[in-house]
Amino acid sequence: MTDATETLLRVEDLRLHYQTRRGVARAVDGVSFDLRRNEALVILGESGCGKSSLAKALMRVLPRNVQHFGGHVMLGETDIMALNDERFRREIQWNRIALVMQAAMNALNPVVRVGEQVAEPLRVHRGWSKERALERVAETFRKVGVSTDFIQRYPFELSGGMRQRVVLAMALVTEPDLVILDEPTSALDVLTQAAIMNVLKRIKRDEGTSFILITHDVATSSELADRVALMYAGQIVEFSDARQFFHDPAHPYSKMLMDSVPRLHQPEAPGHIPGEPPDLINPPAGCRFADRCPSRFERCDRDPDAFSLDERRRVRCWLHEGEDA
């Protein structure tokens, strides 16, 4: 057994900028966080905040128009940013970090049996025989609640919920240290969503897997999160314990976001955040949320630091200057 508080992943000042026709889009712009073993970290944010780019940066699946990609990422003792592409692909991708991309369940190869598709990382990255790989697939299918009869089926024969479990199995089959899930339930129905979240909870408990869950949905995030990193315009604006984040958020954006979450048993209507997030190509000079922020004051024209309120919480907002621990 590994120590529960051991740090698995340490990300420092990660940047991923894209070259576009209009200029450089700073999708991930100086992101730092750490992840402990067997922990679930939720990267929460609205569309265009850079959260999917963050996933791609960690897994190093980059589009061609990357203008700048840099920072430090330590996975255990390995400085994975220092590895060349070949070594990264061989040693890290799928072996130690697996990624379930958004809408991956619709990207399964329609003419290959699902069992073979799930076995592929083992066959390609580990060079296992087909029999040995399929045995592991069957074992993984049982963990995610897919009948082993489905190994022989084609994707179209499976419902959306089952296909999502299959791509989950594909990520888990190599028993990686870290599984990154990008919006794993956003295309699914309420009951199917709940069933998938149950599977993730079970895997986390029984297998000790570490997760980074990327989502825009606060309610979904609360189903797995130990800690929450809220992203806004390419930066993490609050990094907190789940309990603190959901019940006592610190950043003005976190507060407004939590207030906009509809609650079934709440008599008053949820609020909303006026305005739009800034352009990632020309983000405003100071705090990127300032234009929409009700607590804005003079200092906000300057870029705020990430202040640590206590050892479990970091907030990028001038209001918390001086509370710095």
Binding site: A40, E46, S47, S159, G160, G161, D189, V190, L191, T192, Q193, A194, A195, M197, N198, K201, R202, H216, D217, V218, A219, S222, E223, L224, A225, D226, A242, R243, F245, F246, H247, M256, L257, M258, S260, V261, P262, R263, L264, H265, Q266, A269, P270, G271, H272, I273, P274, E276
Partner: protein, 332 residues
């Protein structure tokens, strides 16, 4: 609810899609809407809630006259929909606005906002360009779009998702409809914008005294935006009640499990698994006999639920549920 005759009434409505092999061999029918009855009053806001494949979008499209009902009928303001032809049908379409799920897909990409808002007015015979411009500016104000001049000359892709959806709503309002059908109007939008758009629709509905039919899968937002809820499962309405009554006292086991699957945000959610009924919604090609939820229902009564279709019971005042558990012979 307002008194008087209902604005829209669906009786024994069925919309089936024939499935053919090789283009001619009938192999069965997908029973997307399979015996639905309801009446919508003038000026009320209702939500049809259900999971994908429950028939809620097919129902919306049937009400819009885009699908012809296989059986049963829809009457709007006393007139039966399937009898409307030519001009009368065009008049109906002007009186029912449609707000689609995907605002970007709903707006023609090659038209600027001015042109795409002029289009429906031209089709419906508003000849004077100045009158059209005037009406367009009025609805854009109503959907709270500022900097109207700038917006009018933009193309859809230059607008944010929230702005696009406001244009779709503006377009639906242009012809002064009596009713708006909104099919998942916010599911493609960000959380912080969703509430804003829902509020907007609700306010417009109240100000204009419109009938608003929401199609949604999201039970957590309906309380503030609808007066009544219809819960759909496998082509049927299984439960209906005023919104607070339904959310606070759900009667049908399906509704109960839907509500149990969504919890209010809480850090403790991560600690326990949720009760989720096993299985998946049935195929609409071959729905199970008896109650369609019985194969997944934790409370199914063997010998009853799997054999006989449940009739509509009223376990509480104004609250209807199609479930054998409410039958007194079963002593619930």
């Amino acid at each position: 609810m307002t008194a008087g005759s209902p604005l829209l009434q669906a009786s024994n409505l069925h919309t089936w899609f024939e499935l053919r092999q090789w283009g001619f061999l009938r192999v069965g029918s997908v029973r997307a809407v399979d015996g639905v009855n309801f009446a919508l009053a003038r000026g009320e806001s209702v939500a049809f809630v259900g999971e994908s494949g429950c028939g809620k979008s097919s129902l919306a499209r049937t009400l819009l006259g885009l699908h012809r009902p296989t059986r049963g009928e829809v009457t709007f303001d006393g007139e039966e929909l399937s009898t409307l032809k030519g001009k009368a049908r065009q008049r109906y379409l002007a009186r029912v606005g449609y707000v689609q799920q995907d605002p970007f897909g709903a707006l023609p990409p090659f038209m600027d906002v001015r042109r795409l808002l002029n289009e429906p007015l031209i089709i419906h015979g508003v000849r004077d360009p100045a009158a059209r411009e005037e009406r367009i500016r009025r609805v854009l104000e109503e959907v709270r779009l500022t900097r109207v001049d700038e917006i009018l000359s933009k193309f859809p892709h230059m607008l944010s998702g929230g702005q696009q959806q406001r244009i779709v709503i503006a377009r639906a309002l242009l012809l002064e409809p009596a009713m708006i059908i909104a099919d998942e109007p916010v599911s493609m939008l960000d959380a912080s914008v969703r509430v804003e758009i829902l509020n907007l629709l609700r306010n417009i509905q109240r100000e204009r005294e419109l009938t608003l039919a929401f199609i949604t899968h999201d039970l957590s937002t309906v309380r503030h935006f609808a007066d009544r809820i219809f819960v759909m499962y496998a082509g049927r309405i299984v439960e209906q009640a005023p919104v607070d009554e339904l959310l606070d006292h759900p009667q049908h086991p399906y509704t109960q499990s839907l509500l149990a699957a969504i919890a209010d945000v809480d850090a403790d959610n991560a600690l326990e698994e949720r009760d989720v009924p096993g299985g998946e919604p049935p195929s609409l090609l071959n729905p199970p006999p008896g109650c369609r939820f019985h194969p997944r229902c934790p409370k199914a009564i063997a010998g009853t639920c799997d054999v006989r279709e449940p009739p509509r019971f009223a376990p509480r005042e104004g609250h209807y549920s199609d479930c054998w558990l409410h039958d007194e012979r079963h002593g619930s």
